[in-house]
Amino acid sequence: MSGTDARIRLKTLIFLLITVFSNCVGDLSLKWGMGHQRQHFSFTPRVFLQTLFSPWVLIGVVLLIVWLLSRMALLSWADLSYVLPLTSLGYVLTAILGRFFLYERVSWSRWSGTLLIVAGTAMVGLMTRPNTTAQQKDNS
């Protein structure tokens, strides 16, 4: 394994962790904020801006901006079809957070649907090597 290969693997791992963490906590914070509004949410400017700038929604938005930027960076050297399934593991973690932090009633079909999504993403992540631009250059 060349030095470039090891470097890009470590960099990919770090950016994957940042991407998943900011996505999960961002979604949780956003849901918490949306669930604790005094008024019914709508797209009229006043209600929309008031909602957007309420503390938990704002924290959620900031974390999701971190998510967007770290994922954009990741996409500059890794394949879309490699990045997506791995980061979508975060979607599933968020569903678990919903169960334990928001006390949502999660039916058996919802758990199995969520687990199928984990299975689908794990299948791609565990069984294929990352296709990165650097690797393709090394091979040629």
Binding site: L30, F43, P85, S88, Y91, G120, V124, M127, N131
Partner: protein, 121 residues
């Protein structure tokens, strides 16, 4: 309940198209290296790219629909349901970007699609 699924559909289409444009433009830009350039210059460089601006617009649309979805539905429904964008994105990655998508990735995409379908139960 039709509204949550309409919002889910909006999110899936906007996210998939947004990601596609992002990937095209970031690949054209080349690997992002924070150690050999200033962040400000990097952002200025990226802000000039048309596809990237359109991508950000689509992500914003998707985000507003997601806010509304969180207001009307559970977090444990909303988040896995939007994972449906992965199926559309795998298709687009293959058809538009010409990425090599082998049988494992197709099977993965199929399982995710089944998972999302189960959420409707």
């Amino acid at each position: 309940m039709l509204l949550p699924w309409l919002l889910v559909a909006t999110i899936i289409v906007c996210t998939a198209l947004g990601d596609l444009l992002q990937s095209i433009e970031m690949k054209r830009h080349g690997e992002v290296r924070l150690e050999d350039g200033r962040v400000g210059r990097l952002l200025k460089n990226l802000a000039r790219r048309k596809y990237l601006i359109l991508a950000v617009f689509l992500m914003a649309l998707s985000f507003f629909a997601f806010m509304k979805l969180l207001a009307v539905a559970d977090l444990s429904f909303s988040v896995p349901a939007t994972a449906g964008s992965f199926v559309l994105e795998t298709l687009l990655a293959k058809l538009v970007l010409g990425e090599s998508v082998d049988w494992r990735r197709w099977t993965g995409a199929f399982l995710v699609a089944c998972g999302v379908a189960l959420l409707a139960w």
